[in-house]
């Protein structure tokens, strides 16, 4: 008999996987990266208040700057210690998107092997720039994943982002959202509230998400 992984024996809750795909290129240096770090901490602090959500929401972080890096592999929020992200380098967004999609499908396989139920994963791309690598093929992969309901892909543009390219990356029915200034706190609070709703039992296909108070949907 296959032996289950301890993380699932200790915590058999259904999982809500979330991948943060974060731009840590040089342009994020200074206040932007600090605000982003504080935002991630806000997310942890907020989710942890809800026992169910803290055992269900699983976070992974991929950063793209100097290199594309798995800064945090999937971990439930109760165990998560926010890393301190630093900004430098260029913007290999394409490679990061590809890595995120692979990471996600690998994780789903682990869930299945361990008999763990899961919700549709969310990928959150946050950037203030434009991809410096080949992004067209990864963008197609993202749109295909979204169309096949393999994930929900959100695109958040921080001031300075190349909106033309982001519109080509984001799935057509979920266009990029422009963040108000550097209000990452509001963004992560929204993400936390949304995750609590998703993990709060069976809700059918349509989860009513809280209104987006942290940015504007640009069409």
């Amino acid at each position: 008999m296959a032996v289950g992984l301890p993380e699932f024996a200790d915590n058999p809750e259904n999982r809500c996987p979330v991948i943060l795909l974060l731009d840590t290129s040089g342009s994020m240096y200074g206040e932007p990266i600090n605000a982003l770090n504080r935002g991630i901490s806000t997310f942890k602090e907020d989710v942890i208040k809800d026992t169910q959500a803290s055992l269900s929401v699983e976070l992974a972080i991929i950063t793209f700057g100097d290199t594309v890096k798995l800064a945090q592999d999937f971990i439930t929020v109760d165990e998560f210690n926010p890393p301190k992200l630093e900004a430098s380098g260029v913007t290999p967004m394409g490679e990061a998107m590809e890595k995120a999609l692979i990471l996600l499908e690998t994780r789903k396989r682990v869930y299945k092997e361990n008999g763990i139920g899961y919700y549709r994963p969310w990928i959150f791309l946050i950037t203030d720039g434009a991809p410096t690598d080949n992004w067209q093929i990864p963008a197609e992969m993202v749109r295909e994943a979204e169309a096949q309901k393999r994930c929900l892909f959100f695109t958040v543009a921080v001031e300075g982002a190349d909106m033309d390219k982001l519109k080509q990356i984001a799935p057509s029915d979920r266009p990029p959202v422009v963040l108000n200034g550097l209000d990452f706190r509001a963004l992560f609070q929204w993400l936390s509230t949304s995750m609590k709703r998703v993990s709060g039992g069976k809700v059918g296909e349509a989860v009513a998400l809280p209104p987006v108070g942290w940015g504007q949907i640009s069409i």
Partner: protein
């Protein structure tokens, strides 16, 4: 003579209490001519506005439909005793019977939607319905939840695999466009001594998701309770306490329904 001893209870989930939502589960049963047990449970979709009403209508209409079916069967037997008729249908007859039942349920849902001036999707729910005779059980399931039975000569088994999409919160509702295609029907021609029908609120603690087998430590105490209890209407505190226990609520925050039945030898 063998008779059915039965109990049904619903409890509101913790998350529904927090959000001030009503209990959207519903379950009921009817014992026809002492020997035939008709049972149904339904789970209203969390995202549907009036799904608590939808689940009640689905259960009540489904049971009434089966009552009428058996009334008619008895009448036919009386009028035409020379034509042999089986109480237990074959699988094709069962499929037709449950398709007709679903049409009837959807008609009732539609009428209620018009009365409430809402979309019939607002009344979305899952449905499990069965009738158990002393020597067989004929059942139908749309969506998730489970129906576990113990044939007298065998181990507890799930009659259906809960209908889940890839994601844990995806299922089919009776109002879904693919409800007729996704409807699962089964005829088990074996006497079953114990039956447990439930909504998905208890799936996590009752079923091993790795192989979709029932988890005996969940079912055994319930079966034991049914054996020991003489009068389920009076002595139901055990089930109520179980459904509201903190230990259970730590594992599930959804509404929970239990319909239990035991075939006993009564004088």
């Amino acid at each position: 003579m063998k008779k059915w001893k039965t109990i049904v209870k619903c409890a509101v989930g913790v998350s529904h209490q927090q959000q001030n939502l009503p209990c959207q589960d519903y379950g009921d049963y009817f014992i026809f001519k002492e020997r035939c047990l008709l049972g149904a449970v339904a789970d209203g979709a969390g995202s549907a506005k009036y799904s608590d009403i939808g689940s009640k209508i689905a259960v009540n209409t489904a049971i009434s439909f089966l009552k009428a079916y058996f009334d008619e069967l008895i009448e036919k037997k009386r009028l035409f005793p020379q034509i042999p008729r089986q109480n237990t249908p074959n699988i094709n007859q069962a499929q037709n019977l449950y398709s007709d039942l679903l049409k009837e349920v959807l008609k009732a849902i539609n009428e209620e939607a018009q009365r409430l001036n809402c979309s019939y999707q607002d009344l979305a729910c899952t449905l499990i319905i069965f009738f158990a005779l002393p020597n067989s059980i004929t059942a139908m399931q749309i969506g998730d939840g489970f129906l576990a039975v113990r044939p007298v000569d065998g181990d507890l088994q799930l009659l259906f695999t809960p209908d889940k999409g890839e994601y844990i919160n995806e299922t089919t509702f009776i109002t879904s466009s693919n409800a007729f295609e996704e409807m699962q029907v089964k005829v088990l021609e074996k006497p079953c001594s114990f039956i447990c029908a439930s909504t998905d609120g208890l799936e996590k603690v009752a079923i091993n998701f790795k192989d979709w087998q029932p988890f005996p430590p969940f079912f055994n105490p319930l079966e034991e309770y049914m054996k020991e209890t003489v009068e389920t209407h009076e002595d139901d505190q055990y089930i109520i306490d179980f459904l509201n226990s903190e230990r259970l609520n730590a594992r599930t925050n959804d509404d929970k329904t239990l319909l239990l039945a035991l075939l006993t030898e009564l004088n």
